[in-house]
C-alpha cells in the first residue's frame, strides 16, 4: 500500500506529539521549532497558568541545565524539567507574549528603541560569557520583544548546535567571539542602510572575519554603543575631523549657544558704550 505525502506528514506529526499524560501539563499548540526540539504552548493544571514546553529531539537535557545556570531578566526562566514516556526530555518555561525580533525589526521601531533592544541582547551575552556559556545561534528568530519592551534571548545553544548560516561566524570552532560576530550581524539586521557611519563601523568591527579583530567581549561592544548614544567617538571608527566637530557641536549645543550668548552680550555692551 502506498501512502501519500500528506498522510506521511500527518503520521510524522502525530508521532512527534508528546504524550503529556503523566505530567501536569495539557498540550495546546505548537508554537515553534528550535535547533534541538519543538516548543509547544501548554497549560499547567496545578498552577493554572500558561507555559511554554520545549520537547527535545534527544534525551539530552543539557540545554535546560545550561539555561538554569543563567539567571538573568533576559533569559526565559525554566520552571521544571522531565522525561516523557518515549524517553525524550522536556522542560517547562515561562510563556512569553511578544513579537519575534525579525517581525519587530520590520515594524516602525525607532533607532533608539532598536539600540535599546540590541543593548539588552549584548548585556545578556556579556552575562552569559561571564558564566562561561555561549549562545552559538544568536539570530532574530531566537529573540523576543515582550509587550512591555522586555527582551528575551532564547534557544541557548549546546555543543551540537553550530548556528544558522547567515548569522554564524566563519571560524570552524565557535567561542564567545562567535557570539560577538552574530551580535554584529544582528545589529546590521536591525539598522537601516542610512544609519550613522559610526554605527556601521561598529557592525563592521563586530563581524570581522578575524576573531581577534572583533570586540574582545560583549562589554566592549556595549561601550561603543554607549559612546554612540552619548554623542562620543566610537572605538570602531577613526572619524574625520568634520564629523568629530559636528558630533561635538550637537553634543554640546546648549553650552555653545550659551557661550555665543555671552560673547554677543559683551559685544552689544561694547558697542552700546561706544555710541
Amino acid at each position: 500500500m502506498d501512502l501519500s505525502d500528506p498522510v506521511l506528514d500527518r503520521l510524522r506529526q502525530v508521532a512527534t506529539i508528546p504524550d503529556l499524560g503523566q505530567t501536569r501539563y495539557v498540550l495546546e499548540k505548537e508554537i515553534g521549532r528550535g535547533a534541538m526540539g519543538i516548543v509547544y504552548a501548554a497549560h499547567d493544571r496545578d498552577l493554572d497558568r500558561p507555559v511554554a514546553l520545549k520537547v527535545l529531539d534527544s534525551t539530552f537535557a543539557a540545554e535546560a541545565q545550561l539555561i538554569a545556570r543563567l539567571e538573568h531578566p533576559a533569559v526565559v526562566p525554566i520552571y521544571e524539567t522531565g522525561v516523557l514516556p518515549d524517553g525524550r526530555c522536556f522542560y517547562a518555561m515561562k510563556l512569553i507574549a511578544g513579537t519575534r525580533l525579525d517581525k519587530y525589526a520590520a515594524g516602525p521601531a525607532s533607532l533608539t528603541e532598536r539600540l535599546r533592544v540590541l543593548r539588552r541582547v549584548a548585556e545578556v551575552l556579556a552575562f552569559a560569557h561571564r558564566c562561561e556559556v555561549i549562545h552559538r545561534d544568536l539570530k532574530p528568530q531566537n529573540i523576543m520583544v515582550g509587550e512591555f519592551g522586555q527582551v528575551y534571548v532564547m534557544d541557548w545553544g549546546i555543543a551540537a548546535v553550530q548556528g544558522t548560516a547567515d548569522f554564524r561566524a566563519p571560524e570552524p570552532s565557535l567561542d564567545w567571539r562567535s557570539d560577538i560576530y552574530s551580535l554584529g550581524v544582528l545589529m546590521g539586521f536591525l539598522l537601516s542602510e542610512s544609519s550613522s557611519p559610526a554605527l556601521r563601523a561598529i557592525v563592521t568591527k563586530a563581524i570581522s572575519t578575524d576573531p581577534a579583530a572583533r570586540y574582545p567581549d560583549a562589554a566592549a561592544f556595549l561601550k561603543d554603543i554607549d559612546h554612540f548614544e552619548e554623542g562620543r567617538a566610537v572605538e570602531a571608527w577613526s572619524e574625520p575631523l568634520w564629523y568629530g566637530l559636528q558630533r561635538f557641536g550637537s553634543r554640546n549645543a546648549i553650552l555653545l549657544w550659551l557661550l555665543a550668548a555671552y560673547a554677543g552680550v559683551k559685544f552689544l555692551l561694547f558697542f552700546l558704550r561706544t555710541l
Binding site: L222, K266, L269, F270
Partner: protein, 126 residues
C-alpha cells in the same frame, strides 16, 4: 568629582574671566583687580548654589534656569553696591552675570557626581 566642587571651580574660572573683561571699559580699568576678585567670589557663590541644586535635581533645563536666575540675582546685588563714582553699572554687570550663571548651571548638571552616588556606583550601574 563632586557637583559642588564643579560649581565652585567653574564659578571661579568664569567669574574671573568675566571680571577680566572689565579691562575693555577704560574708566574702570584701574580697579580691574578688585573687579576680578569680586566677580570670582560672585561666580563661586553662584557655582556653590548651582552645584547644590544639581545634587538635588537632575535636569539640564532647570539647572540652566536656576543658574541664570542666581547669576542675575547676585549680579544685581553687586551692581547695586555703592561705587566710588556713584554710578551703577546694572546692565554691564547683570547681563553677563545672567549668562555666566546659566553656563555654570549647565556645567554643574553635566559634570560631577550626583548626590549619594560615587563614580564606582555609576560604573557599576552602567
Amino acid at each position: 568629582m563632586n557637583k559642588i566642587f564643579v560649581g565652585l571651580l567653574f564659578g571661579l574660572i568664569l567669574g574671573a574671566i568675566d571680571g577680566a573683561t572689565a579691562w575693555f571699559t577704560p574708566e574702570v580699568r584701574p580697579m580691574i583687580t578688585g573687579i576680578m576678585v569680586g566677580s570670582s567670589v560672585k561666580g563661586m557663590v553662584v557655582g556653590l548654589l548651582c552645584g547644590w541644586f544639581a545634587r538635588k535635581v537632575q535636569s539640564t533645563m532647570l539647572g540652566v534656569v536656576v543658574g541664570a536666575a542666581l547669576g542675575l540675582l547676585f549680579a544685581y546685588l553687586v551692581a547695586a553696591m555703592p561705587s566710588a563714582n556713584g554710578h551703577h553699572y546694572y546692565l554691564e554687570i547683570m547681563l553677563p552675570g545672567f549668562v555666566v550663571g546659566a553656563i555654570v548651571g549647565f556645567l554643574t548638571q553635566r559634570m560631577g557626581t550626583p548626590l549619594g552616588r560615587t563614580t564606582e556606583d555609576m560604573k557599576r550601574a552602567g
